[in-house]
């Protein structure tokens, strides 16, 4: 042992020295917004400052990256209108046309009964002054003119290039090898129209292709007492159907061979009991290939394998299950927890507008949502009835923007038909990029009477690669 140890020690010291001397320097600078900058720019409560104006992506991204990821707005508008067949402003102002752009408050409810008609029920229910049992009520808002939204030019190009190639089988499930890139069904229609809308959500580019994101969430009891406070960092990498950040198509031969669709990692900074935990997940194409979950458990200093099917329990402290993450991220497969899909409405709604400034905020008093802008949006209301009685939800109802295919709110009901969990999100909009991101979100557990409200800031990060979303991230970032 004596000699072996001495030799090993000598080798290690020599190796360390060699690595140090030959290292090309630090790795490429990983440009990002820091948590401190996030918090300095926007306090969690009572802060109307427009963080997206103060910290636009242009300020974070290196000039070259910014130049690569921004496109001509007119070209994007025209291209997308051609693909979806309309511009959103053309489809609205048909319900309650008396509601014009301008400021409204609770006092206007009687004067403008059309407001009730224009909002979906859970939204209208929150149109009141802040107070128990949930945060996120709003007593005033401004109606702004409807805009046309569009994705980034390369996504438009990919959608055009592969138009009409994506096919569904007889049951309405995507035949994966018919889908290459872009949105698979820009003009959904026919027998499986609901499923086509679903696949536009599933295959959409909402989370960018290389995403770096900071997340602050707080939980509240029915008395609006704060009982959970979490900060986390998130890295995500799209592995299939890449269109606007190199490389195009499959990310690498491994993702193509294994049918890997997406991978992400999340590191908790707070609360203390989650500090140092890192989770990674890889999602797969195959119907029977469930997500690969791994966690670095700081408490044990170990990497643990988690079951890819353990997706129905509430995430620690929050009002969301894994399959609710990002609004709805359940694997679409006939093999497990399949749905019957139905479009129950195709109409306009008055919804929280995509934000360009991030001026919305939560007031400490009554936890009221302030500075909200509302916008008329053409929407599909998709009812998804769960066919497996053992699943946590019996039904989901999703309000989906007809132009962007983003879920704006999702209401989940338990197997007894009781409203269980809902999530409403204000999406951030970056016009010159043709890109979106989650901004503020409200999650409510109506059965346990608990809610979570949070702010998220994400930006494109070309430096994210495999190392950020796999085992290396667990080991190198974990406590």
């Amino acid at each position: 042992m004596k000699n072996n140890s001495r030799i090993m020690a000598a080798l290690l010291v020599t190796g360390l020295t060699l690595v140090f001397l030959t290292s090309p320097g630090l790795t490429e600078e990983e440009y990002r917004l820091t948590f401190d900058q996030f918090e300095q720019a926007k306090a969690f409560y009572d802060d109307p400052r427009p963080i997206l104006k103060e910290w636009p992506w242009k300020r974070i991204l290196p000039a070259e990256v910014y130049r690569k990821l921004t496109y001509d707005k007119t070209a994007m508008k025209n291209g997308w209108a051609e693909l979806v067949g309309f511009r959103a402003p053309e489809l609205v102002n048909r319900i309650a046309p008396e509601i014009k752009p301008g400021k409204y408050s609770c006092a206007d409810k009687e004067k403008y009964p059309g407001l009730k008609e224009l909002m979906w029920p859970t939204m209208y229910e929150r149109f009141k002054p802040g107070g128990p049992p949930y945060p996120g009520n709003f007593s005033a808002f401004e109606v702004v003119p409807t805009k046309q939204y569009y994705p980034a030019m390369p996504i438009i190009a990919a959608t055009m290039k592969h138009l009409d190639q994506a096919k569904l089988d007889d049951q309405g499930y995507l035949i994966e090898n018919t889908y290459t890139a872009g949105l698979p069904f820009p003009q959904p229609g026919g027998k499986h129209k609901p499923q086509q809308i679903v696949y536009n959500w599933v295959k959409g580019y909402l989370s960018l292709e290389n995403l770096y994101m900071l997340q602050q969430l707080k939980g509240y009891t029915a008395g609006l007492k704060e009982d959970f406070d979490s900060k986390a960092v998130y890295w995500a990498l799209r592995l299939q159907a890449r269109a606007y950040m190199a490389p195009d198509g499959w990310y690498d031969p491994r993702s193509q061979a294994n049918g890997e669709v997406k991978a992400f990692a999340m590191q908790y900074l707070t609360p203390r009991d989650l500090y140092g935990n890192v989770i990674t997940a890889t999602m797969y194409q195959g119907w029977n290939d469930y997500d690969q979950f791994m966690i670095y458990l700081a408490a044990l200093r170990r990497v643990r394998k988690l079951s890819g099917t353990d997706t129905q329990d509430a995430v620690a402290g929050m009002d969301v299950i894994y399959e609710d993450s990002g609004m709805w991220s359940q694997k679409i497969t006939p093999e497990k927890h399949p749905y019957r899909y139905n479009i129950i409405a195709d109409r306009e709604y008055l919804v929280p507008a995509y934000t360009e400034d991030g001026a919305e905020y939560l007031g400490k008093h009554g936890l009221e949502w302030h500075n909200l802008k509302f916008e008329r949006r053409p929407c599909y209301v998709l009812e998804m009835t769960q066919l497996d009685k053992s699943y946590v939800y019996g039904k989901r109802i999703a309000y989906i923007d007809k132009e962007t295919f983003h879920i704006l709110e999702i209401d989940n009901y338990d197997q007894k038909g009781r409203l269980y969990r809902t999530q409403t999100t204000i999406w951030a909009w970056h016009p010159e990029f043709g890109s979106y991101g989650m901004w503020q979100t409200l999650l409510i557990d109506h059965l346990d009477q608990h809610a979570t409200w949070g702010m998220v800031y994400g930006h494109p990060a070309t430096w994210i690669n495999r190392k950020h979303v796999g085992m290396r991230q667990l080991i190198e970032t974990g406590k």
Binding site: D36, E226, A314, G317
Partner: protein, 501 residues
């Protein structure tokens, strides 16, 4: 001296527990780099379910442990970070019971020097390490934890860091049981061209023996083991038995930086078709010592019940430990059942073969044998609607086997049979949106026919305030073996913890 220590302790806790400390908890930016600081202050206590008539048991309150931990990390660059954790632990029971008659008569008060305050540098400085990740390498230098293995509740492959088990099996924070030591850890990640194998990593861990810190087990004798001292009776004659007290132990340890105490661990880790597999090799020093009795007259005391307490004279050392092993964990997706909620179980397995391990035997000698240790565990979440309509129930059984190769036929190894079996079962669920978590943990030492049961409820009032209440029940059928020696230690315990961050 004790008064000074107590004063200093109160002062430290007062300063740290003032509201200003909460300002320490958060994420900061220093030179545009993230600095994270978190921590907790926990006050725990335990109350005996025994009436105190036994020599090894004190009636009433057993412990009043305050634990303060502050930890944080800072990134100098994207691939260079430091992490540190400091802990302060004190058991106020030694002050509270300093005037209690039975506490002094049963010699528990003498264990103060062992268990009152963790004030040695390696107890207060938990972790302090630098991590540098240039390219595909990872280097971590400093006082750290390297955790190998897959098993919960007992250790198998996890042999690098020593454990502090002096305060028994009741509710103790993780940070106060595992002892970080000075290590150099190197990892190399390689991107292999095969799609069936991903995340291939090579790891080398060197313990340069900067400071030899072995396991801190529950000690023999009330004067050293305190309230957790095992109740072991030794025969003196046909009808006479004495209590086994703390030994007068002549224990040989490797001196700091001595090559005799250096250790080497090697590990290869990869993900193969959704399974995490590791191959492990370790050559070093066992964290537990082996000892034999010395042929000299033992020191004795007299217990309050008039029975003799014998303090045997012993000599011992920390023997070599060398093993090669494997760990495996996999999601068994084919086993999922919709009837049980559709969650597939995760199987965890680990095992090693150790060469020439050293054992003490019942003829007061040491001998060497090869041995095999392996365990199999399962983590399965099932839906039991009548028990919990909203959340799953996590069920985790484990099985452990330790086989001594060429076990002697004419005598026994101390505390071990040829085949030794252990099982554990953890059942846990949560209510009220995860705030209330009841759990049951059962450990069965099959070989010694003894059991430990732990019933616990955690209530997370907020993520800052966490309350815990539990009961520990220990039982055994064979005198002097397994958990039987702790069967007077049944207790209920409570804790309240404030977490920053």
């Amino acid at each position: 001296m004790p008064c000074r220590k107590a004063f200093l302790t109160i002062l430290i806790l007062y300063v740290l527990a003032t509201p200003g400390l909460s300002a320490l908890a958060e994420t900061y930016s220093v030179n545009d780099r993230p600095l994270n600081l978190v921590g907790y202050l926990t006050q725990g206590s335990a109350f005996s379910l025994s009436n105190g008539k036994y020599y090894d048991t004190e009636a009433g309150w057993q412990s009043a442990i305050t634990t303060l931990l502050i930890e944080g990390d800072y990134r100098f660059t994207d691939n260079l970070k430091v992490y540190g954790a400091g802990m302060f632990l004190v058991d106020w029971i030694y002050d509270a019971k300093s005037d209690a008659g039975s506490w002094n008569d049963k010699l528990f008060s003498r264990s103060r020097s062992e268990l009152y305050m963790d004030d040695r540098y390696w107890q207060m400085l938990k972790e302090a390490h630098v991590t540098w990740t240039p390219g595909n390498f990872l280097f971590r230098l400093g006082k750290q934890i390297v955790s190998w293995g897959e098993t919960d509740g007992f250790r198998l492959m996890d042999q690098i860091n020593p454990l502090d088990q002096r305060r028994g099996f009741a509710d103790v924070e993780f940070e106060s049981t595992i002892i970080p030591i000075w290590l150099i850890r190197t990892e190399y990640h390689t991107d292999v061209p095969w799609n069936w194998l991903t995340d291939l990593r090579f790891e080398a861990v060197l313990n340069p023996n900067a400071d030899f810190i072995p396991n801190q087990p529950i000690k023999l004798g009330n004067d050293q083991g305190g309230i957790w001292a095992p109740n072991i009776l030794v025969p003196l004659g046909p009808d006479t038995r004495a209590y086994l007290g703390s030994p007068d132990l002549d224990l040989r340890k490797p001196s700091a930086w001595s090559p005799d105490g250096m250790e080497l661990g090697l590990r290869i880790r990869g993900t193969i078709q959704d399974s995490i597999i590791t191959l492990n090799y370790f050559k070093g020093i066992d964290n537990d010592y082996v000892a034999t009795s010395l042929p000299i007259q033992p020191r004795t005391d007299v217990a309050p019940d008039g029975r003799l307490v014998i303090h045997p004279a012993m000599k011992g050392y920390y023997p070599d430990l060398q093993f090669a092993g494997i760990t495996f964990s996999r999601d068994l997706q084919s086993v999922q059942s919709s009837f049980l909620g559709g969650v597939a179980p995760v199987v965890r397995m680990e095992g090693f073969y150790a060469f020439d391990s050293t054992f003490a035997n019942d003829i007061n000698a040491l001998e060497k044998h090869n041995e095999l240790r392996w365990s199999l565990g399962l983590d399965w979440k099932v839906k039991i609607s009548w028990l919990n309509p909203r959340a799953f129930v996590a069920i985790s059984p484990q099985f452990y086997h330790r086989k001594i190769i060429d076990y002697p036929s004419d005598h026994e190894l101390t505390g071990l049979d040829a085949d030794n079996y252990m099982t554990t079962l953890m059942v846990k669920t949560s209510y009220l949106n995860g705030k209330l978590t009841p759990s049951i943990f059962w450990m069965r030492d099959v070989t010694t026919q003894s059991d430990m049961y732990r019933y616990q409820i955690d209530y997370q009032y907020t993520n800052n305030w966490i309350f815990k209440i539990g009961a520990l029940v220990l039982d055994g059928n064979i005198e002097g073996k397994g958990f039987q020696v702790f069967e007077h230690k049944d207790q209920v315990y409570f804790s309240v913890s404030y977490r920053w961050g």
